[in-house]
């Protein structure tokens, strides 16, 4: 039996497939139910805040005014996708999160791999990690602000800590999840310890590492926002808090959703990179 190649659709066939897919989407009752669900949510939100003006809900802005502020060309409070200020905040937040995340990945994955690989190293480092880990990243803020030079570094540090521990733990789990048989097979095939590390440990732990990275990204965003609120140095967290203190509540909601989008996009990006690197999983055939 010859395992043949599968034909990739050419451009014309590809376009046809796309049309078919769209047709599938729109014809599907599931799709319409989801649209209905979304509209219901927005509708209830609108009714509760703009129409009925119940006692506590009246302070919360309604979806229409939020959208008007967020996407409008002439925002009342000076922040929308068309203003420089909005993007400044976004850039600040993104830079902080991503640099903290990058550092956490480099250090966290390395530490996790070595801890999983060498029992001696694990014995020395695990107790320390286990004591420092339960301390919520945000509890580091006071200490970090007082000790480190500058609030900016303190905020990035706290974000780093959050992402770091998540990465280390998942990498460790990843290494431990590798079936013993792979190590044995590699030894039989004449691998030296360095070969086992490169050819078994790293690829074997990769799935867990990527799950960990997604979690780390989520945690990083969480810590960043808290850090920004507390430190007050521009950024989306700061924008949200500023909006709150200046009674500009549309800003608050717009900021919240912006954060949501950025967080979602970041995690999706990591997932995409993961799919690329772990092509062997994507091609699993159902037998």
């Amino acid at each position: 039996m010859d395992a043949g190649e599968c034909a990739l659709p050419g451009t014309s066939t590809g376009g046809y497939v796309m049309v078919l897919r769209l047709k599938e989407w729109f014809g599907n009752p599931e799709f319409w139910r989801k649209v209905l669900g979304l509209l219901l949510f927005l509708g209830i939100w609108y009714v509760l805040t703009a129409v009925l003006t119940l006692p506590r809900f009246d302070k919360i802005p309604d979806p229409v005014s939020v959208l008007r502020e967020w996407f409008g060309t002439q925002p009342v409070y000076g922040r929308s996708i068309f203003t420089k200020l909005y993007w400044l905040d976004v850039i600040y937040s993104v830079l902080r999160t991503y640099s903290a995340f990058a550092l956490a990945v480099v250090l966290g994955v390395s530490l996790g791999l070595v801890m999983g690989w060498s029992r001696v190293f694990f014995d020395y480092s695990f107790p320390l990690v286990e004591i420092l880990r339960p301390m919520p990243p945000l509890s580091w803020i006071p200490l970090a602000v007082l000790i480190l030079p500058g609030v900016e570094i303190a905020v990035v540090y706290v974000t780093f800590i959050a992402a770091f521990f998540a990465t280390v733990l998942n990498t460790l789990l990843g290494v431990h999840s590798i079936d013993e048989a792979y190590f044995r097979a590699a030894k039989c095939l004449g691998s030296k310890p360095k070969d086992i590390f490169v050819h078994v440990v790293v690829p074997g732990a990769l799935p867990f590492i990527f799950t960990g990275l997604q979690i780390a990204m989520g945690v990083a965003w969480m810590s960043l926002v808290a850090g920004e609120i507390i430190s007050g140095q521009r950024g989306l967290g700061y924008a949200i808090y500023e909006g709150y203190s200046l009674f500009q509540y549309e800003q608050v909601v717009a900021g919240m959703f912006t954060l949501g989008l950025l967080g979602f996009g970041s995690s999706a990006g990591i997932r995409a990179v993961g799919f690329r690197l772990m092509a062997w999983q994507a091609r699993k055939r159902g037998m």
């Binding site: 010859d2 395992a3 044995r184 070969d195 050819h199 062997w280």
Partner: protein
């Protein structure tokens, strides 16, 4: 994978015993087991599940130690209570649940051994691997990942991965367990073809008596835990063998001789409540 010039791979197992110590309670897995396997022989170890056969294999491969006795490979001591030879390419293993690296393609899996040992340059190894796959009718699989293949293909690739390293001994731990009868017979013929060409010593573990008699030159029937050799059967069916051998009088006669022994041990194991080590 060439036919070995000088006969190599004679295994001598002398009074080997293994006692595990899980949770402070001693478990005797193997007790005074002795076998003498000639170079180039196909030896099959038959016994009920969990009786200690894998322990023997692990000891020869170098994964585990023994607490009693000695094991020699071509006259060299490779295992004793005080020594253990690390796993190496002279004693290749084919694992029960398969151990092809899922993150490497078929070609990368096969060429891994020779390249990492420095025995062949990468391009050389790739050539050799492709040749081999073509010769065995498996071309087309080169750039597939193991997960994309059926278990039959996976098993064959794993056997090729092992044999391309010219081991002295090939240790197979119930490699065809759980496969359907049709696939199994294909595997058997595949393995025997490779055996006839390479004449590498085979140490094959199974609980299937038919498989044992069909494949082996000598069959060792083991008792339930603690494992000891209960009966040794010399299979003098002519080689090369194919599925027709299963119908001959000679085959049935051999089976008759051993059926009682195997069945008896199976019942004992069942009564002792052995969990199937799946």
């Amino acid at each position: 994978m060439q036919a070995l010039g000088k006969a190599q791979g004679a295994i001598s197992i002398q009074n080997v015993g293994k006692i595990y110590d899980p949770g402070g309670v001693n478990v005797v897995a193997v007790e005074t087991c002795s076998m003498d396997i000639q170079a180039g022989e196909f030896a099959v170890i038959v016994g009920p599940s969990g009786c200690g056969k894998t322990t023997l294999l692990n000891a020869i491969a170098g994964f585990d130690t023994i607490t009693q006795g000695e094991i020699y490979l071509d006259g060299q001591l490779i295992a004793s209570p005080t020594t253990k030879l690390s796993p190496g390419a002279d004693r290749m293993v084919v694992f029960q649940n398969g151990a092809l690296f899922p993150w490497k393609t078929v070609l990368d899996n096969i060429t891994y051994g020779p390249v990492i040992q420095g025995a062949m340059a990468k391009s050389q190894a790739l050539e050799a691997a492709r040749e081999l796959l073509k010769r065995l009718g498996l071309s087309g699989l080169e750039n597939r990942y193991p997960e994309e293949l059926s278990s039959g293909y996976q098993r064959r690739v794993e056997i090729i991965r092992a044999l391309i390293n010219n081991p002295r001994v090939l240790l197979l731990d119930e490699p065809f367990r759980g496969m359907d009868a049709v696939s199994k017979s294909v595997m058997h013929e595949f393995l025997l073809e490779l055996f006839d060409t390479s004449r590498c010593t085979m140490f094959f573990i199974t609980h299937d008596l038919d498989e044992a008699i069909f494949l082996g030159d000598v069959v060792y029937i083991m008792t339930t835990r603690p494992a000891m050799v209960k009966k040794v059967l010399r299979v003098d069916l002519p080689r090369p063998r194919d599925h027709r051998a299963l119908g001959t009088e000679k085959y049935l006669e051999l089976k008759r001789q051993t059926l009682e022994a195997v069945h008896e041990e199976a019942l004992k194991a069942f009564r002792a409540g052995e969990k199937e080590l799946a």
